[in-house]
């Protein structure tokens, strides 16, 4: 049996802070109009704002938000999604104080409620011989 710890790597770089004891979502904010975007963008996505790289700053969102809506997915979605071994999972949208709503899986399926507080964490989607692949997840804290 291979007891060597695998590397825990994000499925996609630069979407959440990792490695970290306190994973946070990485977003961008426009210094001119305040629009927050996730995933982070090179130019402001506000259609009436100017498109200048220097207006954009990369920010980390607060580690807590409120669950806006959710569901429990009971069948395996098709590729490109991979979650192994597959089991049903919660998925929801979270409102952050910075003024943006973001999708993510939820660390549990039961006792979910719209409006509950959640914090950002990281969880495993699948692994191969080298790595465990992580994504951001919402962990209920109420």
């Amino acid at each position: 049996m291979n007891t060597k710890e695998k590397n825990k790597v994000p499925l996609i770089e630069d979407m959440f802070k990792w490695p970290s004891d306190e994973p946070r979502i990485i977003a961008s904010r426009c210094k001119k109009c305040g629009t927050v975007s996730f995933p982070k963008l090179t130019f402001c996505q506000n259609p009436s704002c100017e498109k200048k790289r220097e207006n954009i700053e990369v920010i980390e969102l607060s580690n807590k938000g409120k669950l806006y809506s959710y569901t429990v997915q009971r069948y395996k979605p098709p590729e490109p999604f991979r979650y192994e071994p597959y089991k049903p999972y919660g998925i929801g949208m979270v409102d952050f104080p910075e003024g943006i709503r973001i999708w993510g899986m939820i660390t549990r399926m039961d006792n979910l409620k719209i409006g509950m507080n959640v914090k950002t964490t990281a969880g495993k989607l699948y692994e191969d011989e080298e790595n465990e692949y992580l994504t951001w997840m919402w962990e209920p804290v109420d």
């Binding site: 806006y68 569901t71 997915q73 009971r74 069948y75 979605p77 999604f81 999708w103």
Partner: protein, 385 residues
């Protein structure tokens, strides 16, 4: 009285089935033949062909040219239109403006989908790509999950319950069993819906419509040509269209579909009528919750009061606003590009008084609500006799 500029003079639909045995050209011909027989005109009268489908389900690239040739419509121009599940009402809106502008006087809108050309797993994958592929679909979402989140938000805001959703499916099956073109013709009981397995909470298997193969065809004509060909033209009174952000997280709220509400407002304004004037409606019930959201978006019920309409059976034939009395997508099945045309066909037959066992009494004005994606594209069409 509706403006009598543009009329529907022929409608047709193939049976919606699980696996159509022929190719897409034969499938399209089934609806086309029925619509042309209904219109009673020869193919040379068709001045343009608008083919409506979501082409990622097909092996054939640029299917409109293949179908134009197969139906014997060349040299009439043909092209394809796509707005996911609302493709054929988008095609209808374009046909309306072609005729209204005077560019063409008779236009054929042909919607189809042969979803069985690819595996069910592939269909799911392509469905998922009807959301933002860059970062939504790889994160474990699915069509049912998106609508499930609308349902959860409706439950939390208005106290809607799984029982209310089940009532929508029971109504659909009440009429679906009468529709010989429907893929699902069994009567479904309330208990059967409630006991069916969860797909994405709170949506159960029986809250979801089925994939299907099918085609639909609508022939539109100018007033002069309509009077020449048709004893019972059905007039286009209102056309409303609207889009919402593709990313659900960018939308202001999830209590209902804004694209449907805005499209409805536009269609009502153009037609000069309101929700109370509608005698019969076809709405996009890809999931049971979607029908309840449609009641509210179209003003048949106030926001949050949609469930009461189905509890009181007001959307049955005997109620104040019959909705989906052909069985809806839940019974008929949902061949993406053909669905809107099938809805239009039902309303046209209702307004002509040719709907048989599902005829709504004295139907003079009818409405079609057809949605692409999870509330991305909203099309509302109002027809009158």
């Amino acid at each position: 009285m509706p403006d009598k500029d543009v009329a529907v003079i022929g409608v047709g639909q193939s049976a919606f089935v699980r696996g159509y045995p022929g190719g897409i050209r034969e499938l399209c011909f089934e609806a086309y033949r029925e619509a042309m027989q209904d219109a009673g005109i020869p193919s040379k009268e068709i001045k343009a062909l608008i083919v409506c489908c979501a082409p990622e389900y097909d092996k054939q690239r640029s299917p409109s040219s293949l179908i134009d040739e197969y139906l014997g419509l060349t040299p009439a121009p043909a092209f394809m239109v796509e707005s996911l599940c609302s493709s054929s009402t988008t095609g209808f809106a374009i046909a309306y403006s072609f005729i209204k502008s005077g560019l063409y006087d008779v236009v054929c809108v042909l919607g189809f989908q042969k979803m069985s050309e690819i595996t069910s797993q592939d269909v799911q994958e392509r469905m998922g790509r009807g959301a933002d592929v860059m970062w939504e679909s790889p994160y474990g979402t699915s069509m049912p999950a998106y609508y499930a989140m609308y349902a959860q938000a409706h439950f939390a805001n208005f106290g809607t319950k799984p029982d209310d959703l089940a009532l929508v499916r029971v109504k659909a099956s009440t009429y679906g069993q009468l529709n010989e073109k429907a893929v699902y013709r069994k009567k479904v009981t309330f208990e059967q819906v409630m006991e069916s397995g969860l797909v994405s909470s709170p949506l159960k298997v029986m809250d979801c419509c089925a994939n299907a193969d099918g085609s639909s065809c609508v022939i539109l004509a100018s007033a002069d040509r309509a009077k020449e060909f048709s004893k019972k033209p059905v007039w286009v009174m209102g056309v409303g269209q609207s889009n919402a952000p593709m990313n659900l997280a960018s939308r202001e709220h999830m209590r209902g579909l804004e694209c449907a509400r805005i499209a409805g407002e536009k269609a009502y304004a153009m037609a000069g009528v309101g929700p109370h004037d509608i005698d019969v409606a076809e709405v996009h019930d890809c999931f049971t919750i979607a029908e309840i959201l449609a009641y509210e978006a179209l003003g048949f019920a106030k926001p949050g009061e949609g469930p009461q309409l189905i509890r009181d059976k007001e959307t049955y034939l005997e109620g104040k606003i019959p909705v989906n009395v052909d069985g809806g997508l839940l019974s008929k099945g949902h061949p993406i590009g053909a669905t809107g045309g099938s809805q239009l066909r039902t309303i046209v037959m209702q307004l002509r008084g040719e709907a048989g066992a599902i005829q709504a009494p004295n139907a003079e004005i009818g409405l079609v609500h057809n949605i692409g994606g999870v509330g991305i594209y909203g099309n509302v069409i109002i027809l009158g006799r």
